[in-house]
Amino acid sequence: MRPSSDSDPKEFITAFFTSFSEDLLRDDEDPASIVDRYHTTDIIEIADGHRMDRDKLIAHTRPVRKNRPSSRMEVHEAVADGDRIAARYTLHVQQREKEFAMEVYFFGQFTDDGRMRRAHMLTRTVPAGGKGDQATALSNQGAPA
């Protein structure tokens, strides 16, 4: 699934992260197989300056499976250019009796079959339960009634 050719980038990015999480939490399938289904073996993700390669991604599936977060992804905007996607979204997460939300600024590169090759993300925590879309809220404030 190439992001720019046959799918809306908003739908693509939502489906990518939602499906990856669901696969991790569905059963005890080898986490390496799941990670490899969604990422190239030379994947590099940099989140808030922290670099993650394939091994780190696989290791990170352990806390995900232990804490079993339920999450909802709200994509505010997404644009595709060739094999790259830029998106701004809010991730609403509930885990271990806690609720929190993260606003994410995402730049990613994907293969023709929809696997992630590179990603850079900046995140910030926003109030849980909110819309998490400050930019849209601000622009709406200035809009004529």
Binding site: H50, P63, N67
Partner: protein, 71 residues
């Protein structure tokens, strides 16, 4: 006051660091926790000698894996 350093596997971002810190700060005697996500390293400062089993339990409660104390 003693500081011990541990290897913790599975941390990926600042939110992981927060989760590990929160659990470790509940361990009696712990006065400070410093996390280096990229190095898989957690330094715990305490005003008494910590029981490794308590440290391990806290890390596992957060969902992560403590492999071994670092030299």
């Amino acid at each position: 006051m003693t500081t011990s350093t541990y290897t913790v596997i599975g941390m990926a971002c600042g939110h992981c660091a927060d989760a590990v810190t929160e659990e470790l700060e509940r361990v009696p005697g712990v006065t400070a926790v410093r996390v280096d996500v990229e190095a898989d390293r957690v330094s715990v400062t305490s005003d008494q000698e910590l029981d490794l089993a308590h440290v391990r339990a806290a890390v596992e409660e957060a969902g992560y894996e403590l492999t071994a104390p670092r030299a």
